[in-house]
Amino acid sequence: MEFAFSDEQQMIAETAQAFFTQNATSTRTRAAMAGDGIDRDLWRYFCQDLGFAGIAIGEDLGGAGLGLVELAIIAEAAGAQVAALPMLGSLLQVAPAIAAGGSDAQQAEWLPALLSGETIAAYVEVSDLRVEGQLLTGTSRFVTHGAAADLLLVTNGEGAWLVRADTPGVTVTTQTSLDQTRPFARVELDQVAAEALADPAGGLACAYRTALVGIAAEALGGAQSCLDRTVDYSKERIQFGRPIGSFQAYKHRLADMMIEIEQARSAVYWAACALDEEAPDAPLALHAAKSFATDTYFRCAGDMIQLHGGIGFTWEHDAHLFFKRARSLQTMLGNGDWHRERIASMILGEAA
């Protein structure tokens, strides 16, 4: 038992933090927000030069063969800068689904392009999907980075199919979205020819846990950033002749943020580590991490605006990027209440 980063993990963390801090700047993120929510240069460099794209994908499939702890480290660093990357759909959902549930041919066809960043994938969940042979019909309005996607993984929660975005019958419409660093698209499928994933259950399960760990870690990074930036501000901003960070009403609020964030940190790495070790408490850990870390992020982002005063409410300040990402992560893949109800069911049995 040693619940601390190894030297190698520490090195990955430092590399990732340096990379995102230097490159995922506010200026670049805002340029991406004005477009399709992707900083293409950042994406290319992230995938091809750093080689972090396939961090938790097996070496035989072209990945780095590391685990969810290392993936969480990367997602945390990306979240700290609200990086405008299609990481969620491409790397946290579709690539793991294909790696865990794809046939050899599907893996060979898609994984190299996904990991190099040349292909961008999106995850399309349609609860009332109509399946006629290999033809799919249905609509989702909440497909992250859907407008930029080359490949769609369509699922109704049981089956999973691969669909090229340029297949006839696919219509993708950009939606004006709260979080412009991860905009939603409406994806309509009208009798679209699709290829079934070889093992949908295995693929979807892997996508689910990878995405939840990634989202929770991203939230942790974002929350820590909200705190760090507010602390910096509180030391510079002078009112009543002293730094506002010297006022106890202000200090205590920052302390409360740190108390939540430290618990979120425990939650994220407990979940990642428990999943890597296939520990019996891994399912509980996953629900705990998702709900706790994203709720913490939202609270910290809200506090960031409050504690910055008027400047925190401006478009110019980055506080709203965190605030909007936080709100979006809270709802993504089940909100806090939903995940806590899953935990309640584990402890108390299903509600009558």
Binding site: G245, A288, I343, I347
Partner: protein, 392 residues
């Protein structure tokens, strides 16, 4: 990063569990499940001695002083199995977790010889004399005085909130040894035997009706000159060092006690139908999450190799568990409804859950109030400007 335990560790776990369960089913079955600190004090002193006789008393200590040189993982395992077996809390926890480590760190060879074997053996029960009526959160404001006279320290003054003083053999006290000094300067750290005419102990009744803590009065109380830990004037440094020991492995054992409390709430909720209330379900889930995060926070804290500074997990631990437990007490009452407001006893005495509700109001006060914790976190963890304090 690794959460699992090795095969050797799991064997050790089995050894701990076997011994503890054997004791709780055998000779010491009468104290199994006793939760209150004041319950069956004599039997629990005997239990301390039984632990020591089998070298389970202070397993993290060096073998020389009755320990086992146990690894961190082994200490974690023992703490968990100890609580899982329903073994009552250590009546000498102040001795083994605070006084002992303080003597190990700051004591002379002679002091180690004199105190450590008896602490480990459960023969010397310690209590802590820090707070005074006018020195609470501002501990450096202590006024209890000590002076050297004929090769003895002579102590006058008053301590308060001295938990378990009435069943203890020794007390360590922070005293002012420099006449006219103020704040953290001029303080010294003394070990004093309690059974003497100069020390008087009066119980203080708490909101739950129990009396675990006391007022302790010193009127020309005495101890030998070599009862001083460190040098004259080192009192503040040693007191602060001691407080750091509070974040040790014992926190995991404490958490197992919390586990039992939460389990009791869960059982009550299932039995009375509260478990069907979606709002209660959310709160139970939150409590479960909070407890798990406490465990992993503690493991992070214990896994930290650089102990020269407290990391975020260590700094936030006290307020985290205290606030969690206070909420747990409130949850317990919401689950129980009015049933929680009547006691089966004729005395003003409470079963576990109502007692939890009442006692947990103290958790966010003792050992540094939540307000003080937030100051510490903001100043040490976030580097914010410091509050006004004693200038030296």
């Amino acid at each position: 990063m690794k959460l699992g335990f090795s095969r050797e560790d799991e064997l050790f776990r089995q050894e701990c569990a076997d011994w503890l369960n054997g004791q709780m089913a055998g000779e010491f079955r009468d104290i199994k499940g006793v939760t209150k600190l004041t319950g069956s004090p004599q039997r629990r002193k005997e239990w301390e001695q039984q632990l020591a006789a089998h070298r389970w008393s202070c397993i993290g200590w060096p073998e020389q002083w009755g320990g086992r040189n146990a690894t961190l993982s082994q200490q974690v395992i023992f703490a968990e199995e100890y609580a899982r077996a329903g073994v009552p809390g250590r009546v000498n926890h102040i001795g083994i977790e605070l006084a002992g480590p303080t003597i190990l760190t700051f004591g002379t060879e002679e002091q180690k010889q004199r105190f450590l074997p008896d602490i480990a053996a459960g023969k010397t029960i310690f209590c802590q004399g820090f707070s005074e009526p006018n020195a609470g959160s501002d501990l450096a404001g202590v006024r209890t005085k000590a002076r050297l006279e004929d090769g003895e320290w002579v102590v006058n003054g008053q301590k308060i909130w001295t938990s378990l003083a009435h069943i203890s053999d020794w007390i360590f006290v922070v005293t002012r040894t420099e006449e006219g000094s103020q704040g953290p300067k001029g303080l010294s750290f003394l070990m004093m035997p309690i059974d003497q005419p100069g020390i008087e102990i009066r119980g203080i009744r708490q909101i739950n009706g129990d009396a675990e803590f006391n007022e302790t009065f010193f009127t020309d109380a005495r101890c030998p000159a070599d009862s001083l830990i460190g040098a004259v004037g080192d009192g503040w440094k040693i007191a602060m060092g001691l407080l750091a020991f509070e974040r040790g492995v014992s926190t995991l054992g404490q958490q197992m006690g919390f586990r039992n409390e939460l389990d009791e709430i869960i059982a009550a909720a299932k039995a009375n139908g509260a478990a069907q209330n979606p709002l209660i379900r959310q709160r139970i889930a939150r409590a479960e999450i909070g407890l798990r995060l406490m465990r992993y926070g503690a493991l992070r804290m214990l896994s930290q190799t650089d102990n020269s500074r407290m990391d975020g997990a260590a700094l936030t631990y006290k307020i985290q568990w205290a606030t969690w437990r206070r909420s747990l007490g409130e949850l317990a009452m919401d689950v129980l409804g009015q049933e929680g407001e009547i006691s089966p006893y004729s005395e003003y005495e409470w079963d576990t859950l109502p007692n939890l509700f009442l006692f947990s109001r103290a958790d966010t006060i003792y050992g540094g109030t939540n307000q003080i914790q937030r100051n510490l976190i903001a100043e040490r963890g976030l580097g914010l400007p410091r509050e006004p304090r004693w200038t030296s």
